[in-house]
């Protein structure tokens, strides 16, 4: 299970690194979604366990020794994925409008509000 | 009984009448002492009274570009706030108004007085007043820090563990073990306070907001007649309030009976006015704007912070 945690934190750090260093707006948005993937992986891997099965059972049918996977993180991941999708959609629409107005995608030119 | 006594207090002794007389006296003494230091005869002692009465007699011109309501209201609010501040000073142990943390009330009412001067200047719509009010604000930024540090120090010393903001505890402490000026730890704080007084009042070396030669009476460029009289009166009462504050904080000698205390208080105020306002007036030329700021935030704040640290270590 610890391998999942390493991968998810690697994704988060990779996403942040991409946001910080890339000067193209699209790459910044990509970085944001990579960070989202990292957090989603983290959420899912918290509830999961190797030998767990899906927590679906009929009444009184639970055999002793069965091991259920925790369903709540999966529900949270669904919400987090939806939110990540909306944020990316909003960011992309803003990038399109910025391109129309500023004519460039380079973050170093888009700095009218400073100081 | 106490209600009538408070009304009497407010009106007569530490209140209105005493404040007005004391401020005229201090302003007069200050101008005469400066003249004597320059080996000249100097004006009569009542010259500030004549100035104010003469200004009342002149017509009040409202400039076309001024915002009339604020132009006329600012001096009234300024004078009222300064007179209310004077109510808090303990004259011989008795103060007209009692709130148990009146040092902060005094700090804020003095800020209100300077703010009315600034708002009045900006309402008069003249460019000289614009430059003047920006200088007055810089002066305010520079003297506010040391004034607060001195108050914290005195509060800490007189609070005996639980620091206080109220002048009555300060008076009681000094009644018990002598005026604070004798305590060597507090000398830097006293020096810092002596430096703060001329800048707060707007006295000659630090009157960068009403510099006649540089910006034609700066803040008061458009004022004439009645509002000018109120601002001049505010200037005099501020002189009394600041020296009274110094006496209340550092020179609070209380003998047995009231009359001797009041006499000592008046002599102390005159002495403080001489040392803190007349001497710098006669000795140095006017400071430049950034010199005032640099001087207050390095030298004066250094003194105040030094004594605060010493007091904090528990000396």
């Amino acid at each position: 299970m610890t391998f999942n945690y390493f991968v998810s934190f690697f994704f988060i750090v990779l996403g942040l690194f991409c946001i910080i260093t890339r000067h193209n707006l699209f790459k910044v948005v990509i970085g944001m979604s990579v960070v989202d993937y990292g957090t989603n992986l983290l959420i899912v891997s918290i509830g999961a366990s190797n030998k767990g099965t899906a927590p679906i059972y009929a009444e009184g049918e639970i055999l002793p020794g069965t091991w259920f996977v925790d369903p709540i993180p999966q529900a949270l991941t669904l919400t987090s994925i939806v939110i990540g999708a909306c944020i990316t959609a909003m960011a992309l629409s803003l990038v399109i409008k910025i391109y129309h107005r500023y004519g460039t995608l380079d973050t170093r030119e888009i700095r009218r509000l400073h100081g | 009984m106490t209600f009538i006594q408070t009304i009497l207090n407010i009106l007569l002794l530490p209140g209105l009448a005493f404040t007005l007389i004391a401020s005229i006296w201090l302003a007069g003494v200050d101008r005469v002492l400066v003249a004597r230091m320059q080996r000249r005869v100097g004006p009569s002692l009542l010259q500030p009274l004549y100035d104010v009465l003469k200004c009342l007699g002149k017509e009040t011109i409202i400039p076309r570009k001024a915002n009339e309501k604020v132009f006329l209201l600012a001096p009234v609010v300024g004078l009222a706030s300064v007179l209310v501040t004077a109510m808090f000073l303990p004259v011989g142990g008795v103060s007209a108004l009692k709130v148990n943390s009146d040092m902060v009330v005094i700090l804020y009412l003095l800020t209100l007085a300077s703010v009315t001067l600034i708002v009045g200047a900006s309402a008069s719509g003249s460019p000289f007043a614009g430059v003047g009010l920006s200088r007055e604000m810089v002066a305010m930024i520079s003297y506010e820090l040391p004034l607060v540090l001195v108050m914290l120090t005195v509060g800490r010393v007189c609070g005996k563990g639980l620091a206080t903001f109220s002048l009555s505890t300060v008076t009681a402490y000094q009644a018990a073990n002598g005026p604070l000026l004798l305590n060597p730890v507090l000398w830097p704080a006293a020096i810092a306070m002596l430096f703060v007084i001329p800048c707060e009042v707007g006295q000659h070396p630090f009157d960068i907001d009403e510099a006649e030669t540089e910006i034609c009476e700066g803040v008061l460029a458009e004022y004439s007649g009645r509002p000018l009289a109120q601002f001049k009166m505010m200037h005099n009462v501020k002189m009394y309030v600041m020296s009274g504050l110094f006496c209340a904080m550092f020179l609070n000698i209380s003998t047995g009976f009231i009359l001797a205390d009041i006499l000592i208080y008046c002599v102390a105020c005159t002495l403080v006015t001489f040392v803190s306002m007349s001497v710098p007036h006669a000795v140095t030329a006017r400071f430049r704007v950034e010199q005032v700021f640099k001087f207050y935030w390095t030298v004066v704040t250094g003194c105040a912070a030094l004594s605060l640290i010493l007091v904090w270590i528990g000396l």
């Binding site: 925790d70 944020i87 888009i110 509000l113 | 800020t111 900006s122 704007v289």
Partner: protein
């Protein structure tokens, strides 16, 4: 009484839904829908006040009836105690006033239906965040809040920099949301629950490193939402370009949600406000934010950008007061929170009115608006006086409480750090006063600039909300003690002892919350008014005997103000040392030369620090996240 909280939140979301359906028909229908929605939610929140604030009762509502069994909460719950209701009040009042203001302010904008849908969703999500008792529910509401705030910031996307400000707010805001999410998940990993009361119950025993990192993440997340130190350029960009009612919402309400999150995190969830290192962290953050934002605001040219930096420095005041950890400190912070919403909302609405009339917000071009817009100038003076802490107004009362809390904390714990806090707070207050003097001189008083010649006072639809705020500012300033006992002490009491919070939520026990006890030195007694009366009577008697008042006769219809005036009748012209009076307005950037001269290096450093590049802001955020985590691991 049980389901008032869920009703209040749902009416706002349902209102947003209905508005997008039925709102297209006409301006009147739209305003009716929005107004009734806001009114219903305000009434529902007010209905809860007597029992929650007065009686100390705690309202619990479990979504879908999933009440906790055997001490284990697995459903999603809404919990309203005095602290949540206090912030709920702030939210609903601010929403009501900015909604009514935007009826006239946004009248000439296109696609108003979307504006009000987003506005009501923002209001619903903010109210949901404040009243919810479930950590993941708070995260979802934070996301909706950020999403709608970004959309509303870029609403007028033809203004200069609107899209850019919104994009930056979205990118760095998502860093904050990511850290809240990771914090929530790490807490879930340790305690396997998301309910605030349950976490509070178990968090004290579970002192393992994962919980400490979770605390670090949540702290940084809520600091982002409250725009603390490294995140303040976001707020400055977002406010400067958003419409005025939205800037009021962002500065008045969104920052308060960040502050609410911090209070819940430090006082209730982890209850580690007692540790001195946590107090240093929170108070240090507040002080740094306070000072840097006020010096940044000092030489701004844009009126709204200046107000944005001030709003963050006032939030810094609130966070400093929270960090003290004493009952007086917490209630001083809460008092300053509601005062800040009032006077900052008033100032933003005034800025909106100025922009509405003159079309620009640049302080160097404005000038002399007081003769053209007298009522707005009066409202501006009330707002500016209360933010800079002038006695009769509410800013003074709450700042005084903060100084007293900081100073008594310094004395009790004999710790020099809190004395510095007190000093920084006072310097910030003076610098706030200085920058509002600058705004008064450059925009309102002084000589009338070309732009402001044809401005006239704004319609009643804008003036009424502003005057309501102004009246509240004055009233709250005059009754600090009564307001304290009615609202502050229950709210502070609710935050200080989480035990009642936990028992009410989990076991449904109806224990009452004891209001906090603190010695608070009153600032006001009526004798002042008698004295002022006396002085005025003395003044009037002298008036009657002295010389007459000379007013200039009003301008004849034809001539313009600065037309050539013959030397003979120059009596009422301003004195120009003899020259003919030309338009020369002293304002904007040529004020406070002395102060800026001495601090040149400091100002230019911070001017470059706010570079406006998205990557830099993200870098500052990540560095701060790393520093906070290291600090938490070492000390907390």
């Amino acid at each position: 009484m049980e389901n008032f909280p869920i009703l209040a939140i749902m009416t706002l979301f349902m209102g947003a839904f209905i508005n997008s359906l039925a709102g297209r028909r006409s301006y009147k229908a739209r305003c009716a829908i929005v107004f009734t929605t806001m009114a219903i939610s305000l009434i529902l929140v007010l209905a809860m006040v007597p029992s929650v604030m007065g009686g100390g009762e705690i309202v619990c509502y479990w979504m879908g009836g999933w009440a906790p069994e055997a001490d284990w909460a697995y459903g999603i719950g809404l919990e309203v105690d005095a602290l949540s209701l206090f912030f709920g009040l702030i939210v609903t009042i601010a929403v009501m006033i900015s909604g009514v203001y935007s009826f006239t302010y946004m009248k000439h904008d296109d696609s108003q239906v979307n504006f009000y849908t987003l506005f009501l969703m923002l209001a619903g999500s903010v109210l949901g965040l404040v009243l919810s008792g479930d950590l993941f529910n708070i995260f979802v509401m934070v996301e909706i809040m950020t999403f709608t705030a970004v959309a509303l910031t870029a609403f007028r996307n033809d203004t200069e920099g609107a899209l850019e400000g919104a994009f930056k707010y979205l990118v760095v805001g998502s860093l904050g949301s990511m850290s809240i999410l990771v914090g929530t998940i790490l807490i879930y990993a340790c305690l396997h629950t998301l309910n605030l009361a349950q976490i509070a119950q178990m968090a004290i025993h579970a002192r393992n490193p994962v919980m400490v990192i979770a605390f670090g993440f949540l702290f940084v997340g809520f600091c982002t939402k409250a725009f603390m130190f490294p995140f303040q350029p976001l707020a400055a960009d977002a406010h400067a370009v958003a419409p005025a009612s939205i800037s009021m919402m962002i500065s008045g309400v969104l920052t308060k949600c960040g502050v609410y999150g911090l209070i819940r995190l430090v006082y209730v969830l982890f209850q580690n406000i007692g540790q001195t290192h946590v107090q240093y962290l929170v108070t240090g953050m507040g002080c740094v934010t306070m000072f840097i934002c006020v010096t940044m605001a000092f030489n701004q040219h844009n009126f709204k950008r200046l107000l944005a930096f001030h709003s963050i420095s006032q939030v810094g005041y609130v966070v400093t007061a929270l960090g003290l950890g004493t009952a007086l400190g917490l209630s001083a912070g809460l008092y300053h929170a509601i005062n800040h919403t009032l006077f900052k909302g008033l100032l933003f609405l005034v800025a909106g009115a100025v922009q509405h009339q003159t079309g620009t917000l640049d302080l160097d071009e404005l000038g002399g608006l007081s003769k053209k817009m007298p009522r707005t100038t009066a409202l501006f003076l009330i707002g500016a006086a209360s933010i800079s802490g002038i006695p009769p107004f509410n800013g003074f009362a709450s700042k005084w409480m903060i100084y007293q809390a900081a100073f008594s904390k310094a004395v009790n714990t004999d710790n020099f750090f809190y004395l510095l806090v007190c000093g920084v707070a006072l310097i910030t207050s003076v610098l706030t006063l200085a920058s509002f003097v600058k705004v008064a001189q450059s925009a309102f008083f002084g000589q009338c600039s070309v732009l402001c010649r044809d401005a006239e006072d704004c319609e009643k639809g804008m003036l009424v909300p502003m005057s309501v705020l102004a009246v509240l500012c004055v009233v709250l300033g005059l009754i600090p003690d009564q307001f304290g006992t009615l609202f502050l002490k229950p709210a502070a009491g609710a935050a200080m002892d989480p035990g009642v919070y936990i028992s009410a939520m989990l076991r449904g026990a109806d224990a009452t919350v004891m209001p906090a006890i603190y010695g608070y030195v009153g600032a006001w007694n009526p004798v002042f008014f008698i004295v002022l009366l006396l002085i005025v009577t003395v003044g009037v008697t002298i008036y009657s005997v002295s010389a007459p008042l000379r007013r200039p006769e009003p301008l004849a219809e034809g001539d313009v103000e600065d037309e050539h005036v013959l030397p003979e009748n120059a009596k009422y012209e301003p004195f120009f040392s003899g020259e003919e009076s030309v338009h020369s307005h002293v304002g904007g950037s040529d004020l406070f030369w002395g102060f800026k001269e001495n601090w040149k290096k400091y100002f230019s450093f911070w001017h470059d620090w706010h570079s406006g590049i998205v990557n830099d802001y993200e870098l500052y955020g990540v560095v701060f996240l790393a520093a906070a985590l290291i600090y938490c691991m070492l000390f907390v």
